[in-house]
């Protein structure tokens, strides 16, 4: 009689019917406090669309928004060093490289994470080539995550949950990677999403979920492009605008730092032609070896 009024069905959904990634969220330990900061902004995509059209009319690589976004986040990490960190236990570590994580869609259910290394030193073309290679790899079976998922699904449920929690505890407290599954998870401080696929509804606000691992507490998500009114000077103009949402960890940075980080990403996305590693178009360029260094890094050196 106690359960007669519940709206739930009598039995829970079998664990085997729950996608692997959802089970990871379901069975991880919750924090007592929430150090999450979120900053939502928007980007005028006019410059980026123009840049992509010019490059695709003349270039040898089909360039899209995602590689530009990846490099923009990488350059922002390179400039704002405080964001290129992660928490291990109750200590904070710096990353020695500028890496990002990007979810790629597998042919099976659920995405997998791909690690892109040293993105601040790679051109848009190189990043697109890597993105395609990772996507092709994700569609193949017999990857490490597929094997792990296969094993987990065949273990008794309680044992599988214990293994997951133990794995995440190690990811959150031990500095060294432990295997192929851990390197993508621990190799970068940030996960980059682009939801700008045709048909996507407007993204007016977005807080990315947080996986049990504390590696990717920083998340940068660019939404779909929508034509919206924008005030420039004293005039109202119609521009293609996209939402930009950044989630960060208050244990490593504060809101003022977050605002500057977001502003840097917005600047790069607005004028991507100035920040390509291959283009060499840097205002302060002129010294040997500076062709591939970001503009603001050269300005710092000058100071």
């Amino acid at each position: 009689m106690f359960f007669s009024s519940t709206p739930l069905e009598r039995t829970p959904i079998p664990a085997a019917d729950i996608p692997f990634l959802n089970r990871c969220y379901l069975h991880t330990v919750n924090d007592r406090s929430d150090p999450t900061l979120v900053w939502g902004s928007e980007v005028d995509m006019t410059g980026l669309h123009s840049f992509l059209a010019q490059r695709n009319n003349a270039g040898s690589t089909l360039l899209t928004t995602t590689p530009v976004l990846i490099r923009a986040v990488g350059l922002a990490l390179a400039k704002h060093h405080d964001f290129n960190r992660r928490v291990l236990g109750e200590k904070i570590y710096r990353f020695s490289e500028v890496n990002v994580l990007v979810p790629v869609q597998r042919s099976q259910a659920g995405p997998s994470l791909s690690l892109f290394r040293q993105v601040d030193q790679r051109s848009y073309d190189e990043l697109f080539q890597s993105l395609w290679t990772e996507q092709r790899g994700a569609s193949q079976v017999n990857r490490a995550c597929d094997r792990s998922e296969y094993i987990l699904r065949r273990l008794p449920t309680m044992l599988a949950h214990l293994l997951l929690r133990g794995w995440l505890w190690a990811a959150n407290h031990l500095p060294k990677p432990m295997g192929p599954l851990d390197r993508p998870l621990r190799g970068a401080p940030v996960m980059v999403n682009h939801f700008g696929f045709p048909g996507a509804p407007p993204l007016n606000s977005y807080k990315a979920s947080r996986f049990g691992s504390h590696c990717t507490l920083l998340n940068v998500t660019l939404g779909p492009t929508m034509r919206r009114p924008l005030v420039i000077g004293d005039k109202i103009v119609i521009r293609p605008m996209a939402g930009l949402f950044v989630r960060a960890d208050h244990r490593t940075i504060d809101a003022y730092q977050l605002s500057n980080f977001v502003a840097t990403i917005v600047e790069i996305l607005t004028q991507p032609e100035k920040y390509d590693a291959a283009s060499g178009k840097h205002e302060a360029d002129g010294s040997p070896g500076t062709a591939n260094r970001p503009r603001f890094e050269q300005e710092l050196q000058a100071v």
């Binding site: 040898s60 690589t61 697109f128 682009h194 696929f197 045709p198």
Partner: protein
Amino acid sequence: MSEAEAIAGTLAGYLEQRFTDVRPITPETDLLAAGLLESLTIMELLAYIEHVYGVTCDPSEIRPDNFRSAQRLAELIDAKRRRLTVI
């Protein structure tokens, strides 16, 4: 109708079904100018091509000239199926 034209028609039909807010999509529609090709949609398109025609694209073949239109993409697919090199 040549094989490439038939493939182009099929691809245009697939794209019209995929992007319901863009009409019409013909084999000659400039897919890049229409904003239909983003990273995710390119991957979906390539997965569709692999599933239907059994051909895969190398990273070097993901070029603007190959993806400019359904017709151009169909020529690439037809050539790969005939085991020719497309320049």
